[in-house]
Structures are given as structure tokens and as C-alpha cells.
Symmetry: C2
Subunit: 268 residues, 2 copies
Amino acid sequence: MHNTGYVHGYSEREAVRLHDQAQTLTALLHHDTRYPPGSQVLEVGCGVGAQTITLVSQSPDARFTCIDCSDASLAEASARVSDAGYRNATFRNADIYDLPFPPESFDHIFVCFVLEHLLDPTRALSNLKDVLKPEGTITVIEGDHGSAYFHPDSAAARNAIRCLVEIQRSVGGNALIGRELYPLLVSAGFRNVAVSPRMVYADASKPGLVEGFTKLTFTAMVEGVGDEAIRRGMTGRAEWEQGIRDLYRTTEPDGTFCYTFFKATGIK
Amino acid sequence: MHNTGYVHGYSEREAVRLHDQAQTLTALLHHDTRYPPGSQVLEVGCGVGAQTITLVSQSPDARFTCIDCSDASLAEASARVSDAGYRNATFRNADIYDLPFPPESFDHIFVCFVLEHLLDPTRALSNLKDVLKPEGTITVIEGDHGSAYFHPDSAAARNAIRCLVEIQRSVGGNALIGRELYPLLVSAGFRNVAVSPRMVYADASKPGLVEGFTKLTFTAMVEGVGDEAIRRGMTGRAEWEQGIRDLYRTTEPDGTFCYTFFKATGIK
């Protein structure tokens, strides 16, 4: 899941609240990922380094190799990590289906928000297993847009989310992949597979989560495919706008919003 | 949610596994509910005592008053608690809309799987608040059938669940009430309302949960409304049976199943 919604115009106090919120989500997803000193860790699909910063700071004595297929993203991730003062990560352009590493190169592998975009996640996992040492671990984190439900319920809002899922499917992705991590890791040959759901629940008692997750992460992401969904004839302009309004409606004082991320680990 | 599926024919080993499973769910929902010695606790809608046993055993020095509108259920609950050797509960037939207690009679109130059946849950909560002492707590637990999702996904299975939700709605209930606990408690005048989702996630690494929850609790419950759903013309026989098959399909080795209960607390 990519946050497309951190736009300008927020006050400093607001910025602090959103930062706290991002910290909450980071803790929810990553607090239990720590690698031993000296271990070699492969981060797959690091993007602009959103997770890399957390990885290198939580395991300052592990060595990270971070790959992505975009040079621009790699440059940004590298700068971000350097600027934060960390020296324990190197960045490299690589294809997940054609990894430029010898077999059994890494002690651990970390994959976050990547499999949802892949045509063949099982083959990708199998390739990753090849470059993992025996007894090494893999950690996979993915969202699941079918896990979103809310109050007040709304058919238009559910339909807007469905458009996002269908668009992602039409380009070969799977926005419902979170619930599938167990069979995916098992079918790729990992053992001791354990899946831990990480549920985000937002109500008015958690204003940072309402703002930072429901509005600026999830609803902003759905909003981002509106023109495409209408262009494809999946919905009409009025219906779409109703759906987006109804998603924002869940951020009012009597609203609630639920979403679940899935974190899976397995051993080679 | 009522388990209608504990049928005969299981081996002793199976029975042990299911008992362990029930224990897991009990722990998930109730482990953090403990009342101080000497406190007076009202359990609302105790039914046949499924939760009462847990309450009295976890707080053996609190005094429980357990009400229900069915004399048959009260007799069964009372026998169950006595047979288990507990003496700290009394049972009484009472109407949640016309409580036979003076104002401020109780230190704490516990309500589990009750609001989903009520036409006016806000009025019920408001009545309960009247018999609660100032600074007393209320604890409310409810499921949410709209929180169920699974792999493999299936439109027929989702439709079968929708039938159950619609049937419950047509008799004045709300099978999606879990997500609404926050606004319900706030609107009834409770303060410091805090909602804690309790997610059940079942895959093949947790066979007791697959058997005890996915098959024998959730799917059995959906199956139970099949004839009614078909009689009402909400679905056809073939479509219904496909939906039920698809729910059982999620219990195969590559399947997964998710459901979330909501536990809310508030203070008067």
C-alpha cells in the first residue's frame, strides 16, 4: 500500500499528530522484526525506503541489501537512509524474477507490500528461497483491501473499494493477497509458516489513526483510481463521488473503520 | 453468536481438540475481564451460561447477578454453574427494557452477544447505565458477520453470509453491530469508551481453530438459516449449497478464514 495522500497545508501540530500516527502503524507492522548483528538481510522492493529506515534502525548491526526495479526509487531510498545517518544498507537495481545473487547468499529476507503487485508471487517466493540460506527466515507483509469494513456501512463505498481491487487485478496484481500469505509461503516450500494479522481499528478516540490511516492512507488511495474507474465504465461519476464521501463519512465522530495487514514468516 | 454445531460422533481426541479450541476463543474474548473481590456484577442475557462459567471462575470473589428472558436458559445456566462448584452467581428472569433493580445497584455490567438481537440497543444500554453506580464499568462483546472474509474468496459464500445478516435484520437484529460498539456506547452516555477488536484468523497451522471456529461455529451457524433463506426467496437451493461448500472449502489445507469480535468498555 502506498500513501499518496500526504499533501501540504497541514499545521505543525497536525504534522506531529500524523507523524505519531505513522509511528503507530510502523510499530504495529514492524516492532517484532529484528535481525542479529552481522546477519545479511535482503530487502525486496524497497521502493523509496519507507520500510528500509525502520529495518536499519531496528537492526543497526545487521547488513541490508535493498533491491528495487526503479533507479529513481533506489536513489531516493539511499539518500533517505544516508541522511538518517545509517551506513548498514546498500542499494541495487534487481529483478525479483532474475536475482543477481548466488544461491544461499542471505540469512534473512524481508518483503513488504511487493507481492500484491506481482503476476506470479509463488515463483517470486521460490526465487527468493533459492538465495536464502538453509534455516534462514522470510518475512512477508501485505495488506488486504477486502478486509476493509466500516460504520456507517455503505454500498457505494464498498463499490469504490471493489473498483480499486478490480483495477489492480486487471494489471496482474492482487489487492486481496493478505489472506493468501499462508498458502503462498507453503506452496513456495517454506516451513513453519506462521501468519499474524495486524488489524487497524480507528474510531473517534484515536484521531491520529482516523486522520493518518482512514483519510490520508486508505481513502486517499481509493480516491486515486477514481478517474480510471470511471474511464473504464466500472462506475459513474455520481456513484463514485458518493462512495468517496461515504468513506470520509466514517471519519466523523460516530464512525469506525477497520483494515487488516497480514505479516507472515517462514523458514527455509 | 450461538454455536449450533457441536454435534455427536466425534472421537475423544477430537473432543479434546475442540475443547482446547473453545478455550482459545474464551481466552481471546475474556482473558482481560476480572472483577474485584466483593464487587456486584450484572451479567445481561446470560443464556445457558456459556460466558457465566468464565466470569465466575475468573472472578471467584465477585458476586454475579445473571439475567435472561428465558426461564429454561436460566435453569440450565444455574445448573451449569452449580455443577462446576461455583456459588457466586444468582439467576433471575428480567427484561433488559424494564430492569427490576434500583438505580445504581451494580459496580460493573457485562453484556456478551446480546445487543445484536435487540431492536433498540441504545435504549438498552441507557437502561443498564441507570442501574450502574457512578464510576462503574460496562463491558460489551459482539461479533460482526461483515468482518468474515476468507480464501479462496467466493461470491456464493459471501451471499450466504449476506442472507444470514438480512434475516437477522428482518427480525430487528443487527449482525454487523460489532463495528458500531463505539458510537453505541458513546450515544448511551458512557465515557472513556475503548474498543478492542479480537480477530480470529484460522489456517491449516491451527487445525483446532479451523474445526472449532470456521466449521463448527461460523459455517454451522450460516448453514442453520439455509431453509429460511430459500423459503424467503433470498437465494436458490443450488446457489445456497455452493455457498456452504465454498465456506467449507476454506477449511482445506490451503484455505484461510478471518472473523472479528469487538470488545468495548466504558465508564459511567
